[in-house]
């Protein structure tokens, strides 16, 4: 597997504020989601990766190169920044074309590539309108278009779904998936975990400037073995079921919540999921509790995230 990113004790401070702290990791190829709450250090890490800022301590290599001011690296790198900034008085096409020209492409090739990139982002119809007339979603599409127009080897996107409507989000997710499938390394940040989960199982979690976890989602999930896991049940006789479960050794806690429908919901915390489900089967077979739904509530990335920052 290609190592796309290496960093060792990477730190970045803004005066007294810690942006990133002692980050030591390696990232491989494919699509990787960078996850963390606002202020976690995601954007700082991405800015370090694209060489917009320098590390305060430690070191970082992207595709084997130190990024700050590295022109050779920039030929292979595409970056979609988080900030909603574009040249307002230029058209979307002109912005992408200008940046391609600066990338070393001829006027003709820049034109072709700009048109192609904007077409991939479904902006062909409005590409000759001024950016100042664009909606938030269209501006985001231009930012993504300029990042992919030169077919970078490594694509870095900071909150790429910001401002996009549901259709736009789906289109961008499909685009990133296609780029990943074609061999482009993609690193993108998001605090909308649903999107990350739908695009990749490979995640990096950071919080307060520190690396919390890294790897495939199941691997990260395995880190949580010490945490109780939550199972949700829907049942007509939820309170009776709760009484039956509360004495079991696998169960840590049971909470009943009412719903407006004819059944209540049970939220159960367990330390051993397997034995718990065996026990549940046995209880359900012995007595009818009207169990209508069983769901592992913390299988989602959101739950993993909640646990890790708790």
């Amino acid at each position: 597997m290609t190592t796309v990113l290496q960093c060792h004790e990477l730190g970045r401070y803004y005066g007294q504020v810690v942006g990133l702290n002692e980050l030591t990791t390696e990232l491989g190829s494919g699509i990787i989601g960078l996850v963390g709450p606002n202020g976690a250090g995601k954007s700082t890490l991405l800015r370090l990766i694209v060489g917009e800022i320098r590390p305060s301590r430690g070191w970082l290599k992207v595709l084997g190169e130190v990024p700050f001011g590295n022109r050779e690296l920039y030929r292979r790198l595409g970056f979609c920044p988080q900030q909603d900034a574009l040249y307002e008085d230029m058209t979307g096409y002109d912005v992408v074309r200008l940046l391609l020209r600066l990338g070393g492409y001829s006027p003709r090739e820049s034109k072709e590539r700009a048109e192609r990139a904007l077409e991939r982002l479904s902006l062909t119809g409005r590409m000759h309108s001024r950016v100042s007339t664009y909606s938030k979603g269209m501006r985001q599409r231009v930012r993504i278009a300029q990042a992919i127009a030169h077919d970078p080897q490594f694509l870095v996107l900071d909150e790429p779904m910001t401002g996009l409507d549901p259709l736009g989000r789906r289109e961008v997710l499909e685009l990133l998936r296609a780029l990943g499938a074609s061999g482009t390394h993609v690193l993108f940040s998001s605090h909308i975990l649903y999107e990350v989960e739908h695009l990749t199982a490979e995640i990096v979690l950071i919080h307060r400037g520190r690396l919390l976890a890294k790897g495939a989602l199941p691997e990260v999930r395995a880190l949580l073995s010490k945490h109780p896991r939550r199972v949700e049940l829907g049942a007509r006789r939820a309170r009776d079921l709760a009484r039956a479960l509360i004495g079991c050794e696998e169960v840590v806690s049971v909470r009943v919540s009412s719903t407006i429908e004819s059944e209540d919901r049970l939220s159960i915390e367990t330390r051993a999921v397997g034995p718990f489900f065996q026990r549940l089967n046995a209880i359900a077979a012995a007595e009818r509790f009207g169990i209508s739904a069983v769901r592992s509530a913390d299988a989602s990335l959101e739950a993993v995230f909640d646990y890790l920052i708790a």
Partner: protein, 266 residues
Amino acid sequence: MKELARAAWILFQAHLWRIFRTRRAYIAAGLAGLPVALAVLVRFVSHFEGPPPLELLVSIVWFFLVQTIVPLVSLVMASAVIAEEIEDRTITYLFTRPIPRPSILLGRWLAVALPIAVMLVASAELVVRLLENTGTEQGAKEWMPEGMHGSILQTVLMGGVVYSALFAAAGALFKRPMLIGLGYTFVYEGFLGNLPGANQKATVVFYLRSFLFSEHRSLAGEAEEAIFSIPLVEPGAAVRSLGLILVGALVLGAWRFARREYVLAA
């Protein structure tokens, strides 16, 4: 070097036409129009027998246009060369392109230097023409010493180009180039440049003064003491010194710009 020139040229082309849509360009054009407005006022209010006194020309061209308007127009336009990209947070796109960073400063400076030069030269030309035709026709042709008209335009042109390079560099060196530039214009150039002593040689205005007046000392008239408090240098030496200041400012600005990191707000 080839990549530097190529990227600077692309940025110059891309930003040149954008300049004319900015509020700064309107402010600069308004400032450049002030000496013209003054000349119009003189033309329609004053009544001279023969051409107007040369002191009037010196007052408007030297004290008002060259010493005040030229640095101010340059400041308004050129201090934004880098600051605008940072304030608008668009610098990220340029920093992540495979171009030498100094080309950003150079290309964008060229894109403001040209409009600055056009505005100031047009202003100076209009002032001279308006004053030339003030008063009676008689003697208008002999109004100025030979070559003076061209010297005025060249002085204004060089002043605009050199000051704009200084203020563009200030944008790369300091966080608030406009404030620094205002301080430089009025405190450093305005005060130091007119204070008797060799300290004048550390100012742009001294070399502009040398270029304009070293061969036309008589022009100063009653203002001679104020203008020539120390010996002037030859026009050729003045041009070389201005060239050195120009190159020095751009090199320093480019050097700093290539190394400095800009932390943009999210």
